[in-house]
Amino acid sequence: MTKNVTAKDSNTSTIIDLETRNVNKHYGDFTAVDNVSLQIEKGSFFSILGPSGCGKTTLLRMIAGFDEPDSGDILIQSNSMLGVPANKRPANMVFQHLALFPMMSVADNVAYGLKQRKVNPAEISKRVKNALESVDLGDSGKKKISQLSGGQKQRIAIARCLVLEPKLLLLDEPLGALDLKLREHMKVELKQMQSRVGTTFIYITHDQSEALVMSNKVAVMNNGAFEQVGTPSDLYYHPETSFVAGFVGDANRWKAKVTQVDHVRCTTQVANGPALRGKITGTKPIAVGDDVDVFVRPEAIKIIQGEDKPQESDNSLQCRVVDLLFNGANSAALLEDIATGKELHVALPQTGEYIGLQKGESLTIAWSQDQTHCFSARSKSTSK
């Protein structure tokens, strides 16, 4: 399942900052990390996205050195980290709750790692000053941690690591505790900070929007293994597994049986429901009679109004409007398939076109076959 991240680049001269080779970690019978291999290029913003309990935290802690893998190897710039304790690894971590030292001033927090390295005091104060200035907190050195705002704490937690010039910066969902507005702001700030300093960031999160907005590459993790590694748009437009299609972005989903296969397309029959045609997607082959998961994104669905007719090749359904979910640019309509009662989300672009839409109204919806992804339901990741 795991793919080499650099597969698309034939350029072999890029430096690989982090490589994991077949890393496994078990807790009793539970497999936390299942044979994960990956390579991360120098200077990239790499996210590991997955639901809680998928093993992403365990993987990050193994990279940091807080846990040892049961088998496999972890290499930072081609040096194996096995047996290297966390305090000797060139990787620093921004903790979920930041773990700023409350008994020290802001400057002492930033200076902590340098002091541990026995850097001379003059050099320390110079570098701390630079580090604080680089996160726009040049005059906050004497403050107590409790005097900082949420966003400032984030920046200090990052500055505290970056001042050590690590090869890798590991971030363990540090935005989780922030309120929505600040989180949106910090996403942009983090991304800009990363491109400015050029350090390789490894960011783990369960929030797809954080991963998609900030990263060059995202690995989607589920049940301890990587489902897909790719650019954010790859994941969104070309999901390789049913899990990725369901987890990244919103999607309407049916369970169906394949009735006909035609090269890259297939026709499926939903039990007691419509026949849907779509693209065969993913790495697993599909044959007639297979169970499949069929996905279509809310924004791929068109609402047919007035005299328009759906194209012959499109999938189409007769629906009733159950509710209108106004949310500015993300507004949607909650529809119900009249034949089966299945609920569907359809995006409503706020261009004025759908202003007259009423609750209870009946209408026709349609979407193209190319926007319909069919995944084999046999892979373990869809067993849920």
Binding site: F66, A86, M93, F95, A99, L100, F101, M103
Partner: protein, 285 residues
């Protein structure tokens, strides 16, 4: 019930009157002790004969003030000596206990934790006599077998220190353990991740984090030792600490000098209590 739920005024005022009575009950004995320290009379009782500082500074045999009463001052010294060692010992063991119970999992942990709490529920008099018995039989054994007279196993300062240490350690362990339990482990991981060795993590992160609790526990330990009576009574000999001296004086019939000593004790305890409250406040911020 709570301020947001209105009650009939009669009920509210009855409640307030009750609270007022309670605080009078709480303060009255301390207030009279303090007041009579300044009564110009040979007895700590009414009538009020006017204000005097004799019971602090007087140096005639008739009116011996605290600051001239060498026996009393000596017993303060003895108490301070005992309290110092009890505090040092109990804070040390309490800190190791806290790490043992908060940071390690081992067999019979629950059971051992319960044993750790035992000294708190054993009456002080019994804790005293049991240590007296044990040390005495040890001393007798040394005497019979090795023909050695081990002085410190007989009633005296060492036994008083051990007896107080036995139960004060439990209290100190609970205070320090609670703080350690509250600590976010990721602080230590962060320090380790930033390159600190394990001893550096302990020195720069964990112990500074525990310091308010250790200071608070030390103050409590010192005061409890200074004021202990029950356990001390069973283990003391000729060098009597302050509480024992005061007890003996009290039974002989007291002069207001005792009030003066009590007032000084109250002031010192009050100041220490305020410090510990202040330390705890700082800890929470």
């Amino acid at each position: 019930m709570i301020p947001s739920i209105s009650q009939p005024p009669s009920l509210r005022w009855t409640y307030r009157a009750y609270i007022l009575l309670f605080y009078i009950f709480l303060i009255a004995p301390l207030a009279v002790v303090a007041t009579f320290a300044f009564n110009d009379s040979l007895f700590p009782s009414l009538p009020w004969n006017g204000f005097t500082l004799d019971w602090f500074t007087g140096d005639t045999p008739q009116r011996l003030g605290v600051f001239s009463d060498s026996a009393m001052l000596e017993s303060v010294g003895v108490s301070a000596f005992i309290a110092f060692f009890v505090t040092a010992l109990s804070i040390f063991v309490a800190t190791t206990n806290a790490f043992l119970f908060e940071r390690y999992d081992f067999r019979f942990k629950e059971f051992l934790y319960m044993l750790m709490l035992l000294p708190l529920v054993i009456p002080g008099v019994i804790l005293g006599i049991s240590i007296l018995i044990s040390s005495n039989s040890m001393a007798n054994y040394m005497d019979e077998v090795f023909n050695l007279e081990v002085e410190f196993l007989r009633p005296g300062l060492v036994l008083v220190i051990l007896g107080q240490f036995a139960f004060i350690t439990t209290i100190a362990t609970m205070v320090i353990g609670a703080r350690l339990r509250k600590m976010d482990r990721s602080l230590e991981e962060a320090a380790y991740n930033l390159g600190a060795s394990k001893t550096a993590v302990l020195r720069t992160i964990t112990l500074p984090y525990l310091r308010p609790a250790m200071v608070g526990a030390a103050i409590v330990a010192f005061l409890m030792s200074f004021e202990n009576f029950n356990t001390t009574l069973m283990l003391t000999s000729s060098d009597s600490p302050l509480t024992i001296t005061m007890f003996d004086r009290l039974r002989e019939g007291s002069t207001p000098e005792l009030n003066a000593v009590s007032l000084l004790l109250m002031i010192v305890s009050g100041v220490l209590a305020l410090i510990s409250v202040f330390v705890q406040k700082k800890e929470d911020s």
